[in-house]
Symmetry: D2
Subunit: 341 residues, 4 copies
């Protein structure tokens, strides 16, 4: 029985970690820390998680976390980078769900997130936690930068084309849409039902922090790309869809074959049937990514990719990484079927 | 490995049966029939259920169903009543999710649903599938009438008071609200997003078919009651809340103690914390019922009860009954934690 | 051209006052005060109101307001009661949209809202701004307590029965449901889309401040009543529905005739067709109240009443009162047709 | 008092025509035809439109329509094209809200909509009803092809750039999102709340009929373009947002100046403040289009444009055209302020 720690279990990604890990038979959440909620029972905050009735938030303490085999950071940016080194030294492996360890390039991280990185050496060591690409590296890693939600949906939408060197132009356009849970569990006036329900808008159209992550990670896959990325806020809870526009050397039929071959043995990625469009409800609560391919004119492809931002875009993928690191079956405790309707 | 049949797996309750049963290790869905979709794969209709990739809808056939240990009817009313006798004779047990077997009183059924009942003898034998009340009878039953969604939420809200003979007046008021999935998977103009999203209204305020079921079943518990029941349509997908108004001989503190004692050992029923109000999202995708108790004036109690209409109000409770009938752990394959946010 | 002031124009009721008054040809909003937003243009906060492009929030000042003919208070409770006397002395009439002037009984107000009332003498003078009941008093009033949203929907649902002395028991049950805009424009975590969209729950089931207002105002109409009131939060923006359960001496047909006669000449109140149920979208953006009558058993009536909580339940009714007070046509600038879909 | 006819007043665009025209003081709806609802009162179908209590649907008849000054066709495609010639001969002007008269090129129309066009000669005469571009032609036209919803939002987003010859590449990408009312008032299973609420997906990603209209109309403005257009279905009622990606010779500041100059005197088009993003709720129920401009890399511009699909995208723009044709103030009876929250 492996001992697992969670730092910051009070945001949505933390709640999802708690929920999914409670059904994992090989681990035990032995340390759950929160600065704001220490002393409270999980079920007093989340009455919908009776399986976790025995869990109580405790004060944050690196010493307490040191007895774990692996610790998840479900914290805001710039926390994990100040603590990870200590845990690694003590033999504790780390999966960071924030953006601290998603770039191998310190300068790019600092340009994107501002300030000095707190653990630049670890940036080189950290593995980007996209299992379909880095499964073997992940298994042996001490520290994982768990991918962002939009970058996950986008990377999976492009990986087969990039690996096949099929992009004809380096500039790609990513039009993203996310449910409101992507903004986190925060009391913001612009997120209340009266403002955001039955409403739609772009945000950060001048530049969003996930754009450098996308460009960086896709370029690492084999073709240098630049990305224009505009995210939008959906009047709903869960789900991300990205529509990706590229120039490609493959026609639609060949592209489809390339995607099918690439994802044939991947249980968490699948293609929508021909003529169908992936729907976010198909992946509600699931770790799957579903992808559709379309063509309107020769030389250009359109890819629509959907994930659940809290599962595949955060906690589910993090647990998939944990399974790889700790030698469990990769699929343990990870939901595949979606809750729909 | 028990063999399970599902008749009519194309409505929401059928989809939910398929979804939940796919994670049950003691059974196999060996026969899935549909008049309209025979020949189609489950995943062609429900791409969000990859775990059921091997299942295909077949033509409806009592002979095929006869090889099953147990058959679920997830059909409209008045189908199961014409077929159940044949299956029972052949040693197949039946759980009917429609209203055909919810009343022990033929005259009441005929007054409520119209026409002649097709199997009046079986009405006497059929057990009302509310496990918290009839667990032992269910275990030995050949045929179960699975409770309606509103009656389930209401029966669990009143059972401790009725068993304690604490109702002071026989007339109770039940104000119910249901998500739109309760209306089924049907192309109705009044259910489309443009008509029903961001909208709220009562329906069937002159009398709803679940009212006789409520009154009948609660009366069976020990105190004769009459019920005024007004359902309302919520602009959302899943979830039922009923607010029940009763005159009671118990004060709020005593009432709370009675409920706690009654449900202490029931893993699928729990009380909301004092001062809290049960939320439908606490049971989204879960088989739990959460109940809150309130008092505004002496002699009167208010009970708020929430369930997921498709799980506890239909498929989840049906599988709970199946587990009891086939000797499995009552909780196998039944979700308890909810998907929230 | 009458000069109008608005105090606290930054909440939803303030925004709605601004929006509706901008189309009124007999008045001019000459003073719009806000402690938090002084100096800002209305359109910088509410880009959807270009008709009000000339309006700018200014510092709150009783002197500035003193040049107005009439001032609306769209403020939290306990502000208008400290300022109204000064304005009245200076000849400025006042419509308070908060709860400060809704009770004629000081003790009841203090028991409900806590602390000492700041203008107990004015409580006697203030008129409850329900035009269908107090049209003539309103026309001559110096100060109006504008009704609460739930009490408006409930009072209109009961007024014909109470005036006809048709209630058989003094205890009535009011099950209320409100869109999330009723909670105001406030950054509360429990109101964000991820928590409250696709969710439903009761609130304040132990007692809500609108209950004494309902009981007080209905009793004033002719029959002393006690009220059990449970409000619920709807996953949508605008709209209130109350379902009212009463014992009545009238059958359904007589009740219908009484309602028709009472509201025949009232352009803002109407009955739903027989067999129909009022929908909140029928009054979205409108000042109308639509009422449905139902009966399930002899001696009891069910009334479903819908309004737009921000229009009929706040700003629209306030402007209706203003029109009466200043001698305009009662219907000037008040929307009647609803925006649907 | 001009006499107005509406053919097909039972879809959402027809309902909106009825709603808005009821407040127009210069016209009278003297003929309202419907094949399916003849004989019914408008308020029996649309209880939220009491202002239209005097209107009754009548049998469709060209003779009855011939006494009108102007007739709106709010019908499916391929109806107006078979009747318009007769009405024009009799001196009745026509505004067609379907796609029959949006192209001047017969071959393009036939390639897009299939079959033979029923009035190819009129295609040459018909004016595309985009007032900001063709105001003077519209005023003198006998027949108007009222623009589609997506093309309206897109044309207004691009017109200033195209008129300034600022597009550097002819290929533009339009990522569109529409509320569910865009699919009309039709009983489709995939539009019910349980399927489409809390869900998001692309549709017609292989090619949508609005793409040729966009490309054709934008090209007519001065720069030949090809368009890749992918529409998506939003889980909400009203509102369209398009995000347009172009290569442009103007930097963001110059582009902003060009847009400001172009739309300075246009009351129905405005720019969002710098750093702001247009929201669909800013135009809910309004005829306005609000546009935001953004830049992420040199040489490329992003434009976000929002409209209400039923108002600016259909009925509101049609009435704007009617006002121009009949010599009314262009803004009569057209809502500008939006209903928000």
């Amino acid at each position: 029985m492996k001992q697992i720690g969670i730092v910051g279990g009070t945001g949505y990604t933390g709640v999802e970690l708690i929920r999914m890990l409670s059904s994992h038979r090989g681990i035990e959440v032995s340390c759950l820390t929160s600065r704001s909620e220490a002393g409270k029972k999980v079920t007093s905050l989340y009455p919908w998680l009776p399986y976790s009735a025995d869990l109580t938030f405790q004060e944050h303490s690196l010493d307490a976390l040191s007895s774990c085999d692996l610790v998840f950071y479900a914290t805001p940016n710039k926390i994990a980078m100040t603590e990870a080194a200590v845990l690694l030294e003590r033999g504790v492996r780390v999966i960071d769900l924030s953006a601290d360890f998603r770039f191998s390039d310190v300068a790019l991280w600092e340009a994107t997130y501002g300030g000095k990185h707190g653990a630049p050496d670890l940036l080189q060591e950290a593995v980007y936690g996209l299992p379909e690409k880095y499964r073997h590296k992940i298994a042996g890693a001490r520290i994982i930068g768990n991918p962002g939600c939009y970058p996950t949906a986008t990377a999976l939408a492009l990986m087969p084309l990039v690996e096949a060197s099929a992009l004809m132009e380096s500039h790609i356009i990513v039009d993203g849409k996310s449910g409101a849970s992507g903004a986190g569990r925060t009391a913001r006036e612009d997120l209340i039902v009266a403002e955001t329900s039955d409403n739609f808008r772009a945000y950060a159209a001048d530049g969003h922090r996930h754009e450098p992550e996308m460009a960086h990670q896709i370029s690492q896959m084999g073709q240098e790309v630049s990305v224009t990325f505009v995210p939008h806020l959906l009047p709903m809870i869960r789900g991300i869809e990205v529509t990706v526009y590229v120039s490609a050397s493959l026609g639609i039929d060949d592209a489809r074959r390339v995607f099918e071959a690439r994802y044939d043995s991947e249980p968490f990625v699948s293609l929508a049937g021909i003529g169908k469009h992936p729907e976010t409800r198909w992946v509600r609560g699931s770790n799957r990514c579903v992808i559709g391919l379309y063509q309107q004119r020769a030389g250009q492809l359109i890819i629509s990719s959907v994930i659940d931002n809290l599962v595949r875009g955060a906690a589910g993928q993090a647990i998939q990484n944990m399974n790889l690191m700790l030698g469990f079956n990769e699929f343990d405790a990870i939901p595949v079927d979606a809750l729909s309707p």
